[in-house]
């Protein structure tokens, strides 16, 4: 596969996968349409950028700036849904109270290191490598 083939095969496979997921109700219709639209637009912009690159560097830079906003929308979750990769996360994923206690414990240990360093400032130079 050439660079073009790799790009085309990626979008063709992603499109086929998107249809398969809809058919087996692994995604909803809205999710299907979102990815389908992103795939179609991505392929169009790949061609458009190819055309722009045939212009002079000064001109293609100017033209690229004009499409910046549109292509940025295609830079995330362009071939798979936003939440498909996520493992489940509980709503209260972090307990601020316990996080604060952990933080204080670690600060206490850090303070002990600081005291140790003042008593024995050369300890960092005593490191030995064991291979």
């Amino acid at each position: 596969m050439t660079r073009d083939d790799i790009v085309n095969a990626t979008y063709a496979a992603a499109s086929k996968l998107n249809k398969f997921k809809l058919q087996h109700r692994l995604i909803d219709h809205e999710g299907y349409l979102d990815i389908d639209s992103k795939i179609q637009r991505s392929m169009e912009y790949i061609k458009k950028i190819d055309q722009l690159l045939s212009l002079s560097p000064e001109l293609h830079s100017v033209e690229l700036v004009k499409i910046k906003k549109e292509i940025e929308e295609l830079n995330r979750h362009s071939i798979c849904g936003k939440n498909e990769l996520k493992w489940e996360v509980q709503k209260n994923y972090a307990n601020i109270f316990s996080l604060a206690i952990v933080g204080l414990e670690l600060l206490y240990k850090d303070y002990a290191i600081k005291v140790k360093k003042q008593i024995h400032p050369g300890s960092r130079h005593e490191i030995k490598l064991h291979v």
Partner: protein
């Protein structure tokens, strides 16, 4: 505040906010955006180790700060930092552009402060990196915690006998020195990999929770990961972390495993502050059957509250999942299958078994109450044709029908992009595996990643 060392994590392209880049799907199946704002977890390990000796170390994820705030002023931020040395991460090659540009800015703002590069890609391209006038050192290898302390000690005492530090690439009077890569430890138990203790502590100690955030959206989806080993037992052709790549790039002849006890201790620690999933990186079976039994036994004795995510590199029998579920109440599985083609899988190294065995593995997982199974297919692997890439989706359907259309199965397809991994077998012997490489040097990759579409970023194509 004066720091002893400040780590900077650059965006893939600097400044991505000003450039128009159609990065497309290159980061669709990783937690990062195309800016690749997630930093390699190894830097927290280095930071943790250095702070044990009383050094003040800070991690600044510039890429994420830039992503989170369009007006974040990088130069203003960097100008204010007072540190004895800067560390810049070039672990994944897509950072080839951003890391170099950040180093250039640092040297402009702090001409007297040493700039040290590290990471697997920096190790591979160390000779090229040291040629840049704004880079002073490259610390090579996969385990540089202790070496970094040795180097920072030298800088502290202004000693310049750098030839004493293994794995170091350095320069003196503009002449480079390349020390042999001899420090390759086979035990990681005296390290925290990653250093979550450091990360939590740094938020309180330096009163800044934005700088060390791992990626955009972490506060909403704060998953964590634990590294089981450095090195690998597998020989996957396209992987820069394969057995061959580690040997070639880091001189690593064998796996350096973290002990099951150490892993369990880290899981206990994470459980204290997070209920998010914990991803165990690498297939734990790399450690052998006794390692797996010990690890499962420790997990079983623990009151596990978090979901644990495991990676599988090869076929697993039902007994494995029975034991796994017995030890872990809630778990998910990640499998990078790459292709439906059994011959290509054999060639590439992952899941080199029959498709029937793949389906068997999945049915075993499903039977033993797995929460979610992610299956990844890839476009661009050695020997693959356009049609073969499309046929992967037919195999998804075969799997689905043979697994009772189970909705816990999630299917993904992604391109091998943007680059072939340096030091991977495919990178080293492209013609042998049907590749034509467009990029050879670091500078080639630096130019490629700044191209306006991911098609032009690709560092390779297949030979006809």
């Amino acid at each position: 505040m004066m720091y002893d060392f400040v780590f900077l994590h650059a965006p893939s392209v600097y400044d991505f906010r000003k450039n128009s880049l159609l990065a497309g799907p290159i980061s669709d199946v990783v937690p990062s955006s195309p800016v690749f704002e997630m930093y390699p977890i190894g830097i927290t390990s280095i930071a943790d180790y250095l702070e044990r000796y009383g050094l003040r170390v800070k991690i600044i994820n510039l890429a994420n700060r830039m992503l989170m705030d369009q007006n974040f002023d990088v130069e203003k931020k960097l100008r204010k930092i007072k540190t004895k040395a800067f560390g810049i991460v070039l672990h994944w090659l897509p950072h080839a552009h951003g890391s170099i540009e950040i180093a250039r800015i640092i040297k402009k703002l702090h001409p007297e402060t040493p700039v040290i590069f590290g990471g697997l890609s920096a190790t591979y391209f160390h000779k090229e990196l040291i040629e840049y006038p704004f880079i002073d050192f490259v610390m090579r290898g996969d385990s540089t915690e202790k070496l970094m302390l040795l180097l920072l000690n030298k800088l502290e005492t202004r000693e310049t006998d750098y030839e004493e530090i293994p794995n170091l690439t350095w320069k003196k009077d503009n002449k480079p020195g390349f020390n042999p890569l001899t420090y390759v430890p086979d035990n990681l138990d005296d390290l925290d990999v990653p250093g979550y203790r450091y990360t939590i502590k740094s938020v309180f100690k330096y009163k800044n929770f934005l700088d060390p955030l791992p990626y955009n959206g972490w506060l909403q989806y704060p998953n964590t990961a634990l590294l089981t080993a450095r090195g690998c037992t597998q020989s996957c052709l396209i992987c820069g972390g394969s057995k061959e790549a580690y040997l070639q790039n880091c001189g690593r002849k064998s796996l350096a495993l973290r002990s099951p006890a150490k892993l369990a201790e880290d899981i206990q620690f994470i459980q204290r502050f997070s209920r998010a999933p914990i991803f165990i990186l690498h297939d734990i079976r790399q450690g052998g059957p006794e390692y797996v039994i010990e690890f499962f036994s420790l997990l079983k004795d623990m009151k596990l509250k978090n979901e644990i995510v495991f990676e599988l590199f090869q076929y697993a029998d039902e007994e494995f999942f029975r034991q796994l579920h017995d030890a872990v109440p809630k778990y998910s599985i990640e499998i990078t299958l790459e292709t439906h083609d059994e011959k290509l899988r054999k060639l590439n190294g992952k899941f080199h078994c029959t498709n029937d065995k793949v389906i068997d593995t999945l049915n075993f997982v499903l039977k033993h109450d797995c929460n979610k199974i992610d299956l990844f297919f890839m476009v661009g692997i050695p020997g693959q044709t356009y049609q073969s890439a499309l046929d992967n989706i037919d195999f998804c359907e075969t799997i689905h029908l043979n697994c009772n259309k189970d909705s816990r199965l999630f299917y993904f397809v992604a391109p091998l992009a943007p680059f072939l991994d340096p030091a991977s077998t495919a990178f080293e012997y492209p013609e042998k595996y049907g590749y034509k490489r467009f990029c050879y040097s670091l500078e080639d990759h630096r130019a490629a990643i700044a191209q306006p579409s991911w098609k032009h970023m690709l560092s390779y194509e297949q030979m006809r």
